[in-house]
């Protein structure tokens, strides 16, 4: 387990964090990397935190003086690690089986505002259409298919509210919004299937237990809810039921 904060005292072997930090274990086919994002850039470490294998400084080139520059949103897909940025660009890094020869292979354009979160899931069968979803401050969701070149499959428009957290489960996008709503969309088409008035304040995070289809939502209203997701055998649509 790793925890990060913004005002830690100087302790050896604990990295001093800057503000706006996100941390994520990226489980890749042959290795696990620990990825950190901040307003300076992206750092990747070996899974025990001992060695930094890669550092990517953020390019603040065309940022206006009022724009905060940062990286936010981390996910792994196959042998790629994807990281979102303040501009809306999603950086795709190609990770070798071992060693530090990490390469920035692509910059995905799809978002006009800062990326908030990225979610991926293993491809669901041969004809799988989508295995990655990215979200941003305007609530826009972009659904992608990973590969040597990532392809944008669908865009699900926002409604004026940020989407701080997103998950992907069996071809369904689960998105938590700043107005406390949780929505489930069909990833391939972008159709809305479930709308939950889940919380009275902004949702901070969603988490997923994919094998059992349980979705957890945590929000600033101090509540945590657990939902049971399922696919209706008749319609094939995703459904949700409250568990906790």
């Amino acid at each position: 387990m790793v925890a990060a904060d913004s005002q830690g005292r100087r302790i050896p072997r604990v990295r001093q964090a800057t503000l706006g930090l996100r941390v994520h274990w990226c489980v890749l086919p042959f290795r696990v990397l620990l990825v950190l994002t901040s307003h300076r850039g992206i750092q990747m470490y070996e899974s025990d935190g001992s060695v930094m294998v890669y550092w990517h400084a953020l390019d603040s080139g065309d940022a206006s003086p009022v724009q905060a520059v940062f990286a936010r949103g981390i996910a792994s897909s196959g042998h790629f690690i994807c990281v979102g940025t303040w501009s809306g660009r999603v950086l795709v890094f190609d990770i070798p089986a071992k060693g530090p020869n990490i390469v920035l292979s692509e910059e995905l354009a799809g978002h006009q505002t800062s990326v908030t979160d990225i979610a991926t899931e293993p491809a669901q069968g041969q004809d799988c259409v989508a295995d990655m979803v990215t979200a941003d401050d305007s609530g826009l969701l972009c659904v992608w298919r990973s590969g040597p070149e990532f392809k944008l499959m669908t865009q699900i428009p926002g409604f004026g509210v940020p989407c701080p957290s997103v998950q992907l489960w069996h071809g369904a996008v689960a998105a938590g919004y700043g107005d406390g709503q949780v929505r489930l969309y069909e990833a391939s088409t972008g159709t809305l299937h479930v709308q939950i008035s889940a919380h009275a304040r902004a949702i901070c995070a969603l988490d997923l237990a994919p094998e059992v289809g349980k979705l957890l939502s945590a929000a600033e209203d101090t509540f945590v809810h657990i939902w049971k997701l399922s696919r209706s055998p008749e319609s094939g649509h995703t459904e949700a039921a409250p568990l906790l």
Partner: protein
């Protein structure tokens, strides 16, 4: 982190400071004809508030404030309020200033935490400005300054998207992190626990634009609703009645940021809680601050824009006590950790002809292998300037 946070932080903290000073000055008010020379009257109170408000809303100062910039440390901001509180004939000793600052910060922290939507921090700011206009009803010139600031706020923040406000909210909350000073008015109203943490209510109106939790709706491919499930949310929420106004004049609806002090609710911080937090704050201030030079530059620019009127002539400085008795204030001063005292260091940064010649002669007698340290560097100039303020 957002670079648009400083104006909101400064104006709201300033507003809270004025509420507290107004309440304390009223509490120590003596009717004009009965007052001794060193006692507060209604005229004095109005004058103090006028002076502070006109300094706060000075145009040059506001210009500096609204420039996009990072939030600086708590120490730097505290120094600005020190200066502001002394913009008039009123004098506060360090213990009272500490208490004032504690109350200001905890009040605004509470307001930010409880804002229903991140954007509502703007309504909180407008509440403060509305009240400030009430304090200076007899001064149209200062009224105009305040209204100018209103317009600037609307210009900068009016069109910001929700995501930006969320970033501003997070920036503010990080600034207030680990501050858990107990305030008696909050403890009495049960909005703060005895461990200093605020109580987040789980009832009342939902934010404007949010639906009351408790409903799951399911749709088919054509967008038609096919199933509806209700569930128990755990809170007791109701729909929001209406949205607060962001206009120059209007009903803000939100009560956060309005004056919660009145004659009957004395302003106190819980002393044991205060000393615990002072100890934790000391730990933070001991660590060397690599941004110290940057902060001094920032302060110099801000205070360059701040016109401090020095009391002219033999006018006595009126002392305001934020504690209930003078003895309490003395006691608080004694228990104040050493590290929090601002030591004044006199640095001779100006040219002293005679001294230099003497020094030059002495140094000429030594074999100097490396350059003598330049004492007239920018940082030292700033320290000397602060000394003279």
């Amino acid at each position: 982190m957002s670079v648009r946070t400083l104006p909101l932080l400064f104006l709201n903290l300033g507003g809270e400071m004025l509420y507290i000073l107004d309440q304390r000055l009223r509490a120590q008010n003596i009717p004009g004809d009965k007052a001794r020379k060193d006692e507060w009257t209604e005229v004095d109170r109005k004058r103090v508030l006028n002076d502070i408000i006109s300094t706060m809303f000075n145009r040059k100062f506001m210009e500096e404030l609204f420039k996009p910039q990072e939030l600086y440390s708590k120490k730097a901001l505290r120094t600005v309020y020190d200066r502001l509180a002394h913009a008039s004939i009123m004098r506060l000793n360090q213990a009272s200033m500490d208490k004032l600052y504690d109350l200001m910060t905890m009040a605004f922290k509470y307001q930010v935490l409880l804002c229903p939507r991140p954007k509502d921090v703007l309504l909180v700011t407008f509440n403060h400005l509305d009240a400030i206009k009430g304090f200076i009803q007899d001064s149209p010139a200062i009224q105009h300054q305040v209204e100018e600031t209103f317009r600037q706020l609307t210009e900068v923040y009016g069109g910001l998207p929700a995501g930006e406000f969320q970033l501003i909210r997070q920036t503010l909350l990080i600034f207030f992190q680990d501050l858990h000073i107990r305030v008696s008015i909050f403890l009495k109203d049960k909005v703060q626990n005895s461990n200093g943490r605020f109580v987040l209510p789980v009832s009342g109106p939902v934010p404007w634009g949010t639906e009351v939790p408790g409903l799951i709706r399911m749709f088919n491919d054509k967008g038609k609703e096919v199933k509806k499930v209700e569930f128990k949310h755990g809170g007791h929420y109701v729909t929001a009645p209406k949205e607060g106004s962001f206009e120059l004049y209007g009903d803000r609806v939100l009560k956060l940021g309005t004056n919660m002090y009145s004659m009957n609710r004395p302003v106190e911080t819980h002393t044991s809680g205060a000393s615990k937090s002072l100890a934790s704050r000391t730990q933070e201030s001991i660590a060397p601050n690599p941004l110290a030079k940057e902060e001094l530059n920032f302060l110099a620019r801000l205070m360059g824009g701040m016109e401090i009127k020095k009391p002219s002539g033999p006018e006595p400085g009126f002392r305001l006590n934020l504690f209930t008795t003078d003895e309490e204030e003395e006691q608080a001063a004694l228990t104040r950790p050493e590290e929090l005292s601002y030591e004044v260091i006199n640095i001779q940064a100006t040219q002293d002809q005679q001294r230099n010649e003497e020094l030059a002669r002495i140094m000429g007698e030594f074999e100097v292998t490396d350059q003598p340290r330049q004492s007239a560097s920018k940082g030292d100039d700033l320290l000397a300037m602060m000394d003279e303020l």
